[in-house]
């Protein structure tokens, strides 16, 4: 699942979709994830990075990741 290429993001987690005018505020973790996704890192790379930096189980991370993807999809921010 790739973030749409035209989506603008800022370091503090603000997201702007220039095609629709929709804007969203994300927390610090969202900002990090968006930055990683925009840089072209794969899902596995991002997850490995999180597992190495934070105290979180793989199963919990997978649940959170699915939830994150769902939010991005509902916000119309992912490539179809």
């Amino acid at each position: 699942m790739k973030l749409k290429s035209n989506i603008a993001t800022s370091e503090n987690g603000f997201i702007f979709n220039p095609a629709t005018g929709d804007s969203f505020s994300g927390n610090g973790m969202a900002a990090k994830l968006l930055e990683a996704m925009k840089s072209g890192k794969t899902e596995d790379d991002i997850k490995q990075d999180i597992l190495s930096r934070y105290e979180v189980s793989e199963s919990q991370l997978n649940l959170d990741w699915d939830n994150w993807m769902l939010q991005l999809k509902e916000a119309n921010l992912l490539e179809i």
Binding site: A8, F16, P18, A19, T20, G21, S23
Partner: protein, 366 residues
């Protein structure tokens, strides 16, 4: 960046204007900068940005309390002109007088209801040395609210279904077809979303009294409101277009804040309109973008919108381009604009003297 490179860049505020635009005098209507603003002040702001302080602006007003009359830093002089219902002879007579006082180079009308007359007298204005850049009567009629559905069907646009309302009996027929909510619209201006028959009747009577018949009932379409400001060259092309998503909408349905957006589907829509009509002049498309991804045309206004200055902020000074084209210059189409430019409208208590009000009320000029 080294010093040499810095010096090689032109100063941002330096204006290099050809002489032919040095002493322009442009007349503008739509000075009613109220909660349902006319586009006049935004057009003037756009023109000033391009042509500088040497530009002389003549305001053309209908009523004595149009705010632009009193904004002397923007409008050099204002003349009242006759209402459109007084006909073209009265308008020509008044404009002849105004042209004798202030030699006009161009008139930019900004009200839907006055356009028919201005288009009709455009040849006479040209003889007087006054340029215009307007659609034809035929183009004007194509996008009229009364004809919009047929126009859309013929040209492959999504347009909400509508009913023309001549009597209160017609409202029931419309409600049976559309259910509630539906939209009741005036012939020229104003629209109400109604949820009950009582509200529909009230809206019908108000709009009938204000703008005459037919009043229009339109199917309610749910989605995001997007407007497009554009400038057609009369040959099937757009010289520029900028799309704006409404972020804050007043109870009159007007954008009080909005942000520029960029989507190929919106560009294609406006280009399709320009090619289908050969539209000449400024126009605004009011669009509802549905969750299914359809772009419904709710209205097409035959002039620049009140938010036209946002196009300047986004990189397309459409009023300035119109001016240059009206004066004979060949303009290269704008190819891009900046998405994410935001406008937030505000109100301001401007102070004037009662003597100014007396002057414009009694003598029709200030």
């Amino acid at each position: 960046m080294d010093a040499a490179a810095k010096r090689s860049k032109p100063a941002r505020n330096l204006r290099m204007m050809p002489n032919k635009y040095a002493n322009l005098c442009i007349a503008v209507t739509g000075l009613n900068a109220n909660d349902n603003p006319g586009p006049g002040m935004a057009v003037i702001r756009s023109l000033k940005e391009c042509f500088g302080d040497g530009l002389r602006i003549i305001g053309l007003s209908y009523e004595s309390l149009e705010p632009g009359i009193y904004l002397r830093g923007w409008v050099n002089k204002t003349y009242q002109i006759p209402y459109p219902t007084e006909g073209t002879a009265a308008l020509v007579e008044r404009l002849t007088y105004i042209n004798e006082q202030d030699k006009l180079d161009l008139i930019i009308p900004n009200f839907d209801s006055e356009l028919f007359n201005f288009i009709k007298i455009a040849p006479q204005l040209q003889q007087m040395g006054i340029a215009t850049y307007l659609p034809t009567h035929q183009q004007l009629a194509l996008r009229d609210k009364v004809n919009l559905k047929n126009f859309g069907t013929k040209n492959g646009f999504y347009v909400p279904a509508d009913h023309k309302l001549y009597t209160t009996d017609d409202i029931k027929k419309a409600a049976d077809e559309f259910n509630f909510p539906m939209v009741i619209k005036g012939k020229f201006y104003d629209a109400y979303v109604v949820y009950t028959m009582d509200q529909a009747l009230k809206a019908f009577h108000q709009l009938y009294a204000a703008w005459g018949i037919p009043v229009i009932a339109q199917q309610y379409i749910k989605g995001n409101e997007i407007n497009i400001a554009a400038l057609g060259d009369g040959n099937g092309n757009n010289i520029g277009l900028v799309a704006m998503r409404k972020l804050y909408i007043t109870d009159k349905g007007k954008a009080w804040a909005g942000v520029t957006v960029k989507d190929d589907k919106l560009t294609q829509l406006a280009n399709h309109f320009a090619s289908a009509t050969n539209w000449k002049g400024g126009y605004e498309m009011e669009i509802m973008s549905t969750v299914e991804g359809h772009l419904y045309i709710l209205e097409i206004n035959p002039r620049f919108p009140a938010w036209i200055y946002l196009t300047v902020a986004a990189g397309q000074n459409q009023p300035a381009a119109l001016t240059k084209m009206a004066l004979g210059e060949v303009i290269k189409p704008f190819t891009d604009y900046q998405a994410g430019k935001l406008f937030v409208r505000y109100s301001w208590d401007h102070i004037a003297d009662i003597a100014d009000f007396q002057q414009i009320s009694a003598f029709g000029e200030l």
